[in-house]
């Protein structure tokens, strides 16, 4: 059984370029989450999906960030006009149900984004 898959694992981009990060959750998991983790820091919540719907986008740092999920499966996080402060590890997680009992988050290995 495959876990949460994220691609690319590493991305180096120039300031001002757009990047797209992909997350493939565990099959059958309806909830999907995006977090950001700067070096040595905690997990900053960005956005979650229940199915294809993202009820709360207030965690996204700026309007340069957007995310979508299609078919209740794959999700993409897009960062437009990247800035150096966007450099971090972007973690995706999925769970069987949203905040249900005994429904832990399963994290992917993350995408390490470096903006030069």
């Amino acid at each position: 059984g495959a876990g949460v898959s994220q691609s690319p694992s590493n991305k180096v981009t120039e300031k001002g370029k757009d990047v797209e990060l992909r997350c493939d959750p565990i099959s059958g998991h309806t909830a999907l989450y995006w977090y950001r983790q700067s070096l040595g820091q905690g997990l900053e919540f960005l956005i979650y999906f229940q199915g294809n719907s993202a009820p709360d986008k207030s965690g996204l740092p700026s309007d340069r960030f957007s995310a979508e999920r299609t078919g209740g499966s794959v999700s993409t996080l897009t960062i437009q006009r990247t800035q150096q402060e966007d450099s971090a590890v972007y973690l995706c997680a999925s769970s069987l149900v949203f905040h249900g009992p005994l429904s832990p988050l399963h994290f992917g290995n993350g995408t390490r984004l470096t903006v030069t």
């Binding site: 977090y35 905690g42 997990l43 919540f45 965690g59 973690l91 832990p104 399963h106």
Partner: protein, 109 residues
């Protein structure tokens, strides 16, 4: 807004010593989860506590959920080098799962 704080931020122990991290929420939590993140790795789920005053054990790890459901603790007995990593608690807030600030544990052999 809801905040989940953990103390200490860092802890260095000699192998064989005990370790405890404390998690405190500004609001009552319906449940709390604990995760471990090894250096260079991603967070991995350890356990979930739901009931007030609940205590659960996993080998050398003991997890407690406070009576008021606003705090929790993780205690490791006789630490080993394999316990190295950052331990996060996490609690739900309506539409988000908020992670604590984390406690980074270093174990010296």
């Amino acid at each position: 807004g809801q905040q989940v704080m953990q103390i200490p931020q860092y802890q260095h122990v000699q192998e064989g010593e005990d370790f405890t991290t404390y998690c405190n929420s500004s609001t009552t939590l319906s449940n709390i989860q604990w995760y471990k993140q090894r250096p260079g790795g991603h967070p991995v789920f350890l356990i979930q506590l739901v009931k007030s005053g609940e205590v659960k054990k996993q080998k050398r790890l003991t997890f407690q959920f406070g009576e008021a459901k606003k705090n929790s603790s993780l205690h490791i007995t006789a630490t080993q080098t394999t316990d190295v990593g950052t331990y996060f608690c996490a609690g739900p807030r309506t539409d988000k799962l908020i992670f604590g600030t984390g406690t980074r544990l270093q174990v010296f052999p």
